[in-house]
Point group: C2
Chain length 336, copies 2
């Protein structure tokens, strides 16, 4: 990893951009709880500070970036509605933001999107167009629709408004850790990575305090890890994973530029890690995450972090998952 | 229902006793979140204010009363340890309180207690003695053990310290509703009833504001409803129910005396109501309750309350449930 600044064609962002985003979206998104669960601390051998973005509006952190981005369009920018493409949570987030600002939303979703995420978009009044199963195909469909309708495209992850908005989750976590520990900081922070907007925002919010930030991706969907190793963005053909939110073919250019300045290391997890993490959180913490949302916790529970950090932040990024999958993942013999 | 005061041999309690309990247990129990979940409001046709005691220490409101009762014993009273009898959550609560105050705890549990509740007591350092399957049998076993050891008996529900402690959950709910609505109050409050300590405390905390308080019990375990109808305590032979926390043979004398002054009506629910309520809360709210903890929500979701209340408080009393049961309850086809 190098310590170079962002390329000149990418905007330079810092924690002040995150603070500004937090002020703009206040009241339109939730300040989510930070959970402390003794049984999980014991499994991890460290203090885990769990940022419960599964309890955010629409059940995922994506509400933050979308709300910020749609707000920043201004009234004129929203006049012909907004459009986006997403495997799920960003779809609901844009539908929510559009409703919050009183404009129309069209959402291009993959044909294999979980039913619960499709139902969520419909319930929020979003219009759905199905297209393919990869982010490339649905991006193209959205762009083509936007050209015809004049709707504003809301990027799912690679945009400064999205990054600054996503960063507000980590900003709240950092602030709450400080408040509850008399000014303490996180030694490490684990962040699930799909397109990289969440970790880019986390870098802006947490790196100034010296926190070591780690990316977590499914095996075979490790676009960020490979890009960090290569020093430039690398495309992957996402393999099968339960973490349907962490499957982009490539991380965002802006997100990578920020991540490569700040990210201390990368982890990969399998379905065999995600299921038990989801189950442990449900049993001991009584909250539900989707498999993508369990990715960072899965790493924390296996104690794989270098340097034996004492205080670890974990972003629980979302909780939208079909109940039948949850049933399958948790229906194992109870511990003694 | 009559409006007579408590019999002279029972202590007179009011909201000030609950406030005093809240001050005593502060820092030893959690101020739990009050959840607002749009999809559940739509199902209920009202604003539901969900007090998430499933996110309390040991996963249930019982931590409050036990912490208060063990604290009020004083150091001398705890010197030979504490002992209790419980179908589950009170067991963990007393083990937690004993650990918090640095004394030993012995817990008499039913032979059919859920594994997760047994494991919870062990993890907190409590010593377990198994005895029978009814509250009568385990009460007798505990009394006999206490006589020999000199340990202090911590009643599970029928004691002024337990009632005042349990009432702190409703006190927090009432205070948060007021804070978030500019001084508003609840029109109605739904409370699951086992031995009646939770609803007795709820009466103390919520009745002064004019809130209509309703009891909720499983069909066949309706000791409170029958007692209110009869005007005196009536014993039941608890029938089968998924709500293992709501199966006492009789409500407490103190609890009944308070309830009959304040409770506006009673509801009964079946397993067919509890499962869907648990599932709806997990899907839409991302939090897990045990079947007992879903009882009040089950009534709220069916819109059965008289007078079409606009703002309804719902106590989610606990979240300790074997994952295999959760898997069975949620593994139904997803909604469209």
């Amino acid at each position: 990893m190098t310590d170079t600044a962002s390329p000149p064609d990418l905007p330079a962002l810092d924690i002040e951009d995150v603070r500004a985003a937090a002020a703009r979206i206040e009241g339109r998104v939730r300040t989510t709880p930070v959970l402390r669960i003794e049984a999980l601390d014991q499994m991890a051998g460290a203090e885990l500070w769990l940022k419960a973005e599964n309890l955010q509006h629409i059940g995922a952190f994506k509400a933050r970036g979308a709300m910020h981005a749609v707000g920043q369009l201004g009234e004129a920018g929203r006049a012909r509605g907004v459009i986006t493409f997403s495997s799920g949570n960003h779809a609901q987030a844009v539908a929510l933001a559009a409703r919050s600002y009183g404009c129309a939303a069209t959402i291009v979703m993959p044909t294999d999107a979980p039913k619960i995420k499709v139902a969520g978009v419909k319930a929020l009044g979003g219009e759905i167009v199905f297209a393919g199963t990869t982010s490339d195909v649905r991006r193209e469909a959205a762009m083509s629709l936007a050209e015809r309708s004049g709707a504003a495209v809301v990027q799912p992850f690679d945009h400064p408004h999205i990054v600054a908005g996503a960063g507000t989750a980590t900003l709240e976590l950092v602030d709450e850790v400080a408040a509850r520990t008399g000014g303490g900081t996180l030694d490490a922070l684990l962040v699930p990575v799909g397109g990289g907007g969440l970790i880019a925002g986390a870098c802006l919010a947490a790196a100034p305090a010296g926190t070591a930030i780690y990316s977590v991706e499914p095996h075979g969907c490790d676009a960020m890890a490979r890009s960090l190793e290569a020093g430039e963005r690398v495309a992957v053909s996402p393999g099968p994973t339960l973490a349907d939110g962490l499957k982009p073919t490539m991380v965002g250019a802006l997100n990578f530029a920020i991540a490569k300045q700040h990210v201390a290391g990368s982890f990969r997890v399998g379905d065999d890690d995600l299921g038990p993490a989801l189950r442990a959180l449900l049993v001991h913490g009584k909250v539900l995450v989707e498999p993508s949302g369990a990715a960072a916790l899965a790493v924390a529970l296996t104690g794989r972090l270098p340097g034996a950090p004492r205080r670890i932040g974990v972003i629980l990024s979302g909780g939208n998952v079909d109940p039948s999958l949850v049933a399958r993942l948790i229906d194992t013999p109870a511990e003694a």
